[in-house]
């Protein structure tokens, strides 16, 4: 643990360097440490202690050549200290013995890549365990695996920092109290659990993607975090078609993020987006991953959604969009997970492929479906189809309904504009 890396003045303020290194390495270190100390809270506290030690000693000794290994060793030592001082843990003696054994190992396997990756998988599955409520899973995943602080997560989900802090604490307490194991699930439940993990990651992405202009700086972070998690999963489970499919889907959406809102913060519909603002790098990567996923011949919902998005981005212009194929894909998606939202999207696609009346026919039953009756996009789509079918009066009513239901200022402005365009104003 000597002056390994040396200290270059252009690295900047030592405290800032330590902070940056910790943010990068924290996820992997925590994953390993939780396995070694057997407790989430203890592991986090120990890593915090190690951070304080780093800030104190790195300016003097230099940044270590293997920062993750340094942090892990330092954190484990501090976990031992904390554990000795805690009287109440049931298996304290066992844990201390195990930690002492790890500490005295001659051949440190600290930071060995495959071991760390196994632990990161354990951490993801534990954070996304179905025994935790969905808000808790999301918060815990972002806190433990993402690079975000509690305050940043709180702001991203529009709750107070203390609320978010409590949510995370309770989740950790439940993991300890209910005996949620720290492991990759057994084969019999793995497919279900993996679906749960992907659902959490996609939820995080959608929270960021749906952010209105005013919140974009904070909430846009969520898209990056979700993609990072998606990449981690793709690295850890490269053979799973849906893992690849989800990453492809997120990249293809994210590629268009900048074009969704114009320079004054107004929402821009897909067919009028400035395609030069699309990130071609992300699109290429997304398409490549989708192809990789499809080659595995295990179709699934994320792959289908990615394929639909791919058809949108591959069209040379909005007019050349292959709506027929998109409608067919929504049909297959509806078979897999018949949800009213999927049916809505299919109706919209059919409305383009076969004309507005065909779309309106499919939309009919949805308007009576209580699950989706209060869903703003349903009424916005209804309005659009009515307008194109020539029924301005009904279209106006539908736009008004959509405006009533919209919770987003940018969205509302766009809908108001379409409503007044109807009146010729």
């Amino acid at each position: 643990m000597g002056p390994g890396g040396g200290w270059r003045s252009q690295d900047g303020d030592p405290a800032a360097v330590a902070e940056r290194v910790f943010r990068e390495e924290r996820g992997g270190v925590l994953a390993v440490l939780i396995r070694q100390v057997g407790d989430f809270q203890l592991a986090e506290d120990a890593v915090q202690d190690a951070f304080a030690a780093a800030v104190a000693t790195w300016p003097r000794d230099g940044v270590p050549t293997n920062p993750a290994a340094w942090i892990t060793t330092a954190a484990r030592r501090r976990a031992i200290d904390r554990l000795r001082r805690t009287r109440s843990l049931a298996d304290r003696t066992d844990r201390l013995a195990e930690l002492a054994r790890l500490d005295s190992q001659e051949h440190a396997v600290e930071g060995e890549q495959s071991a760390v990756e196994d632990d990161r998988l354990r951490l993801i599955f534990t954070c996304c365990h179905p025994a935790l409520g969905l808000p808790a899973r999301t918060a815990l995943t972002l806190r433990m695996l993402g690079g975000l602080t509690t305050g940043e997560i709180a702001r991203a989900f529009l709750v107070s920092e203390s609320t978010m802090g409590q949510r995370i604490s309770r989740a950790k307490a439940k993991i300890a109290g209910a005996g949620i194991p720290y492991r990759v699930p057994t084969d019999d439940v793995l497919p279900d659990r993996l679906r749960g993990v992907l659902a959490v990651v996609y939820l995080i992405f959608n929270e960021g993607y749906a952010a209105a202009a005013g919140e974009r700086l904070v909430r846009g972070e969520l898209c990056s975090e979700a993609i990072r998690l998606g990449r981690l999963l793709a690295r850890l489970m490269p053979d799973d078609a849906e893992v690849l499919g989800l990453l492809a889907l997120m990249l293809l959406h994210d590629a268009r993020r900048d074009a969704r809102v114009d320079d004054v913060g107004r929402y821009v519909a897909l067919d009028t987006q400035d395609r030069t603002r699309w990130d071609q790098g992300r699109i290429r990567e997304g398409l490549r991953l989708l192809e990789q996923a499809l080659r595995r011949r295990r179709p699934g919902s994320y792959q289908l959604q990615a394929a639909i998005t791919a058809l949108h981005v591959e069209a040379a212009s909005p007019e050349q969009t292959d709506w027929q194929e998109i409608a067919a894909l929504y049909g297959r998606l509806a078979e897999l997970e018949g949800s009213p939202v999927v049916e809505l999207n299919r109706a919209v696609a059919v409305g383009f492929a076969a004309g507005p009346r065909a779309g309106l026919e499919l939309l009919g039953p949805l308007l009576a479906d209580p699950r989706i009756a209060g869903y703003q996009p349903l009424h916005a789509a209804h309005a659009e189809l009515l307008r194109r079918a020539g029924d301005s009066a009904a279209a106006g009513e539908a736009y008004r309904r959509a405006i009533e239901l919209s919770g987003n200022a940018v969205e509302r402005a766009e809908l108001e504009q379409r409503l007044s365009a109807l009146r010729g104003g």
Partner: protein, 117 residues
């Protein structure tokens, strides 16, 4: 090893009919045997019908005794097991095989284990 209570809740209505009862008993016997194989120290009981329950409260020094369970619910506590399991996933696995789950539910509650002094 952690201990879990499996609380067996049956639907108030729509449970097995009188004709279906013998087959149902057989399923429960097999289920209990499988749990006992996993934990020889297993304890558990079927509870008598909720119609035979009596609830006791003491309010302002006055003992109140009422006919029926503590709350009227759509699902009724029908029985329980207490079983040692290495972790929650194992307990959840046992719960998922309980005959009741197709028409009722099982609550899996960790039992308080006090640390050795």
């Amino acid at each position: 090893m952690p201990k879990y209570m499996l609380l067996i809740y049956g639907a108030a209505e729509g449970g097995p009919s009188a004709e279906e009862m013998p087959a149902e008993h057989q399923k429960w016997n097999e289920y209990t045997a499988s749990l006992r194989a996993a934990d020889p120290g297993l304890v558990g009981d079927q509870l008598r019908d909720v119609d035979e329950a009596t609830t006791v409260r003491v309010i302002d020094g006055e003992t109140q005794i009422t006919d029926g369970p503590f709350a009227v619910t759509k699902e009724l506590l029908a029985g329980y097991y207490i079983i040692d399991c290495p972790d929650l996933d194992v307990a959840l696995g046992h719960a998922a095989r309980a005959p009741i789950v197709t028409h009722g539910s099982v609550e899996v509650r960790p039992v308080f284990v006090y640390p050795a002094a």
